[in-house]
Symmetry: C2
Subunit: 154 residues, 2 copies
Amino acid sequence: MATAKPTSSKASAAGGDQGQAANLRLTRRDHARETSEDYAEAIAGLIAEKGEARVVDLAKRLGVTHVTVNRTIARMQKAGYVSTQPYRAIFLTEPGRALAQDCKSRHDTVVAFLRSLGISEQAAEKDAEGIEHHVSPETLAAFKAALKPAGRSV
Amino acid sequence: MATAKPTSSKASAAGGDQGQAANLRLTRRDHARETSEDYAEAIAGLIAEKGEARVVDLAKRLGVTHVTVNRTIARMQKAGYVSTQPYRAIFLTEPGRALAQDCKSRHDTVVAFLRSLGISEQAAEKDAEGIEHHVSPETLAAFKAALKPAGRSV
DNA sequence: TTCATAATGTACCATATGCTACATTAGGTT
DNA sequence: AACCTAATGTAGCATATGGTACATTATGAA
Ligand SMILES: [Mn+2]
Ligand SMILES: [Mn+2]
Ligand SMILES: [Mn+2]
Ligand SMILES: [Mn+2]
């Protein structure tokens, strides 16, 4: 009876486990990008603020040890997001810059949106740090749309 | 010059790296709970729907293999969230039930809030799967508040 | 130029989370 | 009762991410 089920109309409602499993898979994929996104954003920020991004500064900003930064940077270099040489500063490649910009844009939008709901700056910044990696283009657009008419009441 | 900086007034704005590092640490802590939360919610759902939660059903719903489910359940049992015996079904302990309820409540609120912004059911369910683990009590309250007066226009 | 120190790198360890392949068990069928 | 199959468990592998301890390098001060 539960064998050959015809493609149901409401995928996520009737699909049951399939839809839920797909969503969780996508969320896990988002998490896989999360580290690179936060690092790229931090590197871009350091370059903008101090002229260059050093391992120590990244470690301070990211709240991890320099060892963790080192290994992650190695992964990101292999992935083509950064370029660096032993004992030198860390640079973003073109894809890396794009990742950083995209992530910062999302970050700022999420923060602005939460703030517009009356959420405190502390909570908004903290929650955004996680939420920013889970907003689809559709949701991001909705956040931006909700922000536009923010000066007046409907 | 950047050595002995007096405690700045606006912690997150002037605190610079310290605040950012703290936020990222909190987000990593959220991620550590994420797996248990999703599992607890899935177990509660299966018990409600089918009377019991079996490893195979969890694997299907979570989109992973039964091996991964097994190991995670072992961790959750050690943590006191579930109780199970070899070849038997999986039960939620009292803390496990609380975790499941709390998570489902958050999940539903996030989905409802996103839907209220005009986001599609598919996108709302998908994004909520990630966002649900990153909403502070303050943000959750704001979402609920924004939902209450949803029937009429302001 | 030498040297002290901070920055960087490396070796090794731990946990969480995925997987495939194979072993074992439970439960219904014959 | 014997057996087949699905469910469950286990061994072993991989990657990502976090750490401590120690080695090496770069750099400014003396
Ligand atoms: Mn982040
Ligand atoms: Mn960010
Ligand atoms: Mn989730
Ligand atoms: Mn997340």
